[in-house]
Symmetry: D2
Subunit: 402 residues, 4 copies
């Protein structure tokens, strides 16, 4: 057996997404015969005890409490950033300048201007970059993409996409970092809304303009005992202001004339992880629901009269993208496999010098939609994505030239 090329990974952060990414790196070579193999080299985190434990548990060769050490480690090829959103700009730019390939969690940045600078920097430094919109990598979603690209749905008229969760409905849940604007940027909008924006961009195309509304249903919450306000923190006696959205909805017009309705909320009781969409085109429709992620529902208008109806396709067959790597038809896969499929694509990209999608350009365009929605909610008018991008560019150039 020829020894495969190794790609050494330095991971920054180790909580929920750290677990998901680490697992996927470990599992990848079992399922896919990539030309290269990821190696869990070093994990970075501020809490010495926590990062040590994570390092052992996830199977890293070592750990550090200073993420900058990863950049200085010449053996590390890929920096994987799963820290809160306010850290992304510094880390991605430093990593790019250190010549490292980068995987970054979504959203890419706190503002479109930041995202613009990040993209400029990775381009200048010729590194491979990817943003972790893992839901794109569900076989059923990839199958949807294939059908749309092949023209099976014809011209697209509609997308309606909802990402519904309910984990913070209890007012006693403390002010964790995902509820603090200075750390997270947006609430439901950036955390889960960003995913359905990405799915729409992937499947339909670019957003042209949007108008939205944002709402915070529970405006005050207990401050968490943990100074970082990390997930899993317990509540203290004091309370603080929630300054991000609990729910955001928006209308969208797409460049190709399609018509979109989007909603992200953490206040939809009974929806644990209800990431769902329906797309309607001239010749057919598709429906997908992450809670039943292996299935794609497809309607074809050219099915014979009387035999028309949505088909439930269990996307677990050889012919379905990525599915052949796993189990026989009908033996379903789960959430974690979306990360494996994404990493398969990233590792191939690094190995072959190809920048995969979604990458930081997607991150930028996604961020522009997030920001346009926020602006529209403030102003009560439609906001053009193009304008947001141009302003970001101007602002970013000013920043870069300073």
């Amino acid at each position: 057996m020829v020894e495969k090329k190794k790609i050494n990974v330095g991971l920054i952060g180790y909580k929920f997404m750290g677990k998901a990414h680490s697992h996927a790196y470990r599992d990848l070579p079992f399922y896919f015969e990539n030309s290269a193999v990821p190696v869990l080299k070093t994990v970075a985190g501020r809490n010495p005890e926590g990062v040590k434990k994570a390092s052992e548990h996830y199977g890293f060769q070592g750990y550090t409490t200073n993420w900058k050490n990863l950049l200085e480690d010449e053996e590390i090829d890929l920096i994987d950033i799963v820290t809160p959103n306010n850290t992304h700009v510094e880390m991605t730019i430093a990593a790019a300048r250190a010549g490292k390939h980068i995987l970054c969690e979504k959203p890419l940045a706190m503002t479109t201007a930041e995202a613009y600078r990040i993209l400029e920097t990775v381009k200048e430094n010729n590194v491979v970059h990817m943003i972790c919109h893992n839901y794109r990598y569900t076989p059923a979603v990839q199958m949807a993409k294939k059908l749309i690209e092949e023209g099976k749905l014809g011209k697209i008229y509609h997308i309606r996409a909802h990402y519904l969760q309910d984990w913070i409905m209890d007012p006693k849940i403390p002010l964790v970092w995902r509820l603090k604007k200075e750390v997270t940027g947006y609430g439901a909008h950036g955390d889960i809304g960003a995913h359905i924006i990405d799915l729409a961009r992937f499947l339909i195309g670019e957003f042209s303009e949007v108008t939205g509304m944002m709402q915070t249903f529970i405006k005050e919450r207990p401050i968490s005992t943990d100074s970082d306000g990390l997930s899993g923190s317990t509540a203290s006696d004091k309370t603080g202001q929630v300054d991000v959205d609990d729910a955001t909805a928006f209308l969208a017009k797409f460049s190709n004339g399609a018509f979109g309705v989007f909603e992200a909320t953490r206040f939809a009781g009974g929806n644990r992880n209800g990431n769902r969409f329906e797309i309607n085109g001239e010749k057919g429709s598709i429906r997908w629901d992450m809670e039943n992620m292996n299935n794609l529902e497809v309607y074809f208008d050219n099915d014979p009269k009387g035999l028309q109806g949505f088909r439930t396709i269990n996307c677990t067959e050889e012919v379905h993208p990525f599915a052949g790597a796993y189990w026989p038809p009908g033996h379903i896969i789960g959430y974690e496999h979306t990360f494996i499929n994404l990493l398969k694509t990233l590792i191939d990209g690094i190995s072959e010098g190809i920048i995969p999608t979604p990458n930081f350009e997607d991150g930028l365009l996604n961020q522009a939609v997030l920001e346009a929605v926020e602006k529209s909610a403030e102003k009560g008018t439609w906001i053009s994505i193009k304008e947001v991008l141009e302003q970001a560019k101007a602002e970013s150039c000013k920043h870069l030239s300073n």
Copy 2:
């Protein structure tokens, strides 16, 4: 057996809704022991052959080609208007002035100002009035209302409602009246969007402000051979402009702080009659889908941990509103029964001198939402329902004073 009071019905129009209403009048006494019984007295329509045939088929005692004859017939108690929307204002006002009780199809009028005048007139003339938002009268929807009123869902955070159809996706479908602005007012928005607006008002409360978008995907269609452009017409060689919306979507804020997303479209392939909503409250959620109308899905947050999930309640039991009149549990009812339940309420109302809901006040408030969405789509801003109502009142008073 004491002879029951009879309520003589004069029906104007006899197509799809004429069939639905006529059937429901006939079927009503079989299922419900009302204090009064409707009698199919006279049906009016312009086409002599058509109205004669309808009269015989539906079981009316007679017919006329001049709807005004119904108003002059002293025996007629109730005028039922199922004609195109541009006729509603004249007919309802004339009927009210003739002292007749009125059932009118939705939307009530072409404009909010018209609706305002209609409402003023029925009030002045002390007649019973009702607007035919039949979907309210599905047992599962009534059950939803009951749960919300009892506080079982707590404070309401969200409604997302979609009414998806696909009957005009084929560009060869001609310009029937439902596609002509001067006859119908709105396209999908007024025809099916009005129904989900009504469901939201019924279940959640009043709309405060809205912002929307409207789209016509197929802008030109064959002119229909039938001069009226009635449904079922065939296409001619000439084409004409479609001047109503194929699809409309809007965001809404409710007076009680709830947050709504609405979409009505005739371009959602595979959705024959997809009238669906989900409501999320502090303590629970409900889902409903007209294509599976007997079921209500309900989630309660106070179910024990580990046993939480949406329940599928088949609302066919004695305990479910209206359901006891029909068949044993699990023996489902269909579309037509929504009309029977609505008429049961109307006939009781007439018999007992009570104005049921939804009535023309609901018609007015619904119309104001329709118009606010239209205005917001034109201006690109949020429109307040209150302002639309005030303008309509002002305009209507001017009209009345002229």
Copy 3:
């Protein structure tokens, strides 16, 4: 308008099935343009008050407390029998001898021998006869039949059919007639099992042999206060033995090589009226569920690889059998419409001198399966349907020759 031929109906019995049949006669001419029109002439029942009330409520011209009066009434064309099963043999035979056409509720008789005699008698008297297996007349089931007949499923391998109810799970429910062997013959087996046997015969073909098991979970119940033990009776203090099955299941081999699994039970909590089947053939499969009766799920093996899956066909379109008479696509029908479709076929049959299906021959063959299952449960072996039929014939001839 040419006056249509009238078919005068005499109904014996007026409870649940009396309501369902009466309604369907009334509704039939509204939906279908038959060559003849049923007229509700006379209803017969033992309880003077009850039958009078039913007569008025259902809209009969008159009533009688002696069913034999119906046979003497020369104007009556059709006798409709909805009384408990132990009365069918006397009534059907008397009706046939009086030259009346007959509709009889299922099961046709108490024994196969009885059924044989009934069939012989109707044949001798040249009357039109039909047995009320209404579920055959669901548009989705008719569509299933069409697909099978057209060979769309190829050779049939499997049917699994379940009829699950739960209305007698509470041990306090009294010994109503449906729980008394001398009145009803079988419990769940004859009441609901007979329906899935009929669906299997309709869709797959004839049963060859069966082996089954029968169970009575609650063996003692309160005697009902009503001497007839009719449904809706209240419980007295005394208890009596339940001598029919609460649940029956059986395996079946069909003449064409198909392989069947059947189960009828009244002890399947949460299944109010769960009449469901799946059929698998060489080229495709179908699934149907009465609680969602408008839908047919269909799988075609020759759909392209990667696009295979069960389609949910909402059988509410013109192209679906019987569906065109009702509402536009997606506007669903319910339980009662199965009776309307069946009566449409019966009234056409009488009018045109054609014996429709399912008729008393179907009743006989169904009864033979019921009896074969019972015998197999007693003996613990497979029982051939042919043998049961031959024994019944022999026994019946003996009876006839006496």
Copy 4:
């Protein structure tokens, strides 16, 4: 970090189940903090190239073409047998005699007598043993077990269980080992029927007697080019006889009075891996479907009137057995996790000296049901499980004493 105890694994076989087991050993320490850690020591297989490749791909330290080498390797603690069924008896007995703990794929043996001897041998040798009925280890199934044990369903009346597949419907699929009696013992019956028998035993209790039928729909198939007739083989020109069942169905009576209907088939088109059951008890019901394996549907009879219905519980929360090890609520797991959960239990068992379930006693009892069904299909009568077990014991003792 204290070094954890290591449990060295020797795996015999490396195809479908080899992949599933190997993956689960690798993944186990990532998700669960067991007291011991499995190490992939050696994999055995007859084909030198195949086993070498599997060894590298799955991450074993070494490989061998002679499985007996594993028994001689003192470092190996656990022998995992995933070879065709006709090899189980020799391998398990040899492994037990070598003092190795054993995991064996189902069914345990070719006959009940074999299974009896295997059980006797592992008992004599005091090794830990487990049979790989992985579906028991789905969180939703474990939750079902918990509900039943807590009495939430009350006395159990019914189970109906189906395992429906369709992978051999094409007559061109060759005679792979799973279709040869001498290698596999049974067809669908032993391969997938064994799983639903296990689920029934796990959830309901012991089978008392059964009657069944077995069918081979396609009796001749191309001989596979691979001499072993392994899965994935291609077809040759010659054909051979299929001597196992394509489908088996049976009725069952349980010791506790419950009533079961079972069906396993490979000819149910559109059902890729349709492992499904419904259980009805005095107080409630549950439904489960492997193709949507994270959900458990539960009905409680003591829910308030009007609010009764099946709940869809997504068993992905901390409170659901095994689910807490994985992802946040609503982030589903898949097929492979059933093996991880099973191995977690096995490794704990070995580490703590506890024999987990299902073990070889379950294997024996399962085999007895399989054999009783086969006998009943031959004889056409009911067969008692107890008698099959007694005969097997007698036969086995004779064998042992020889």
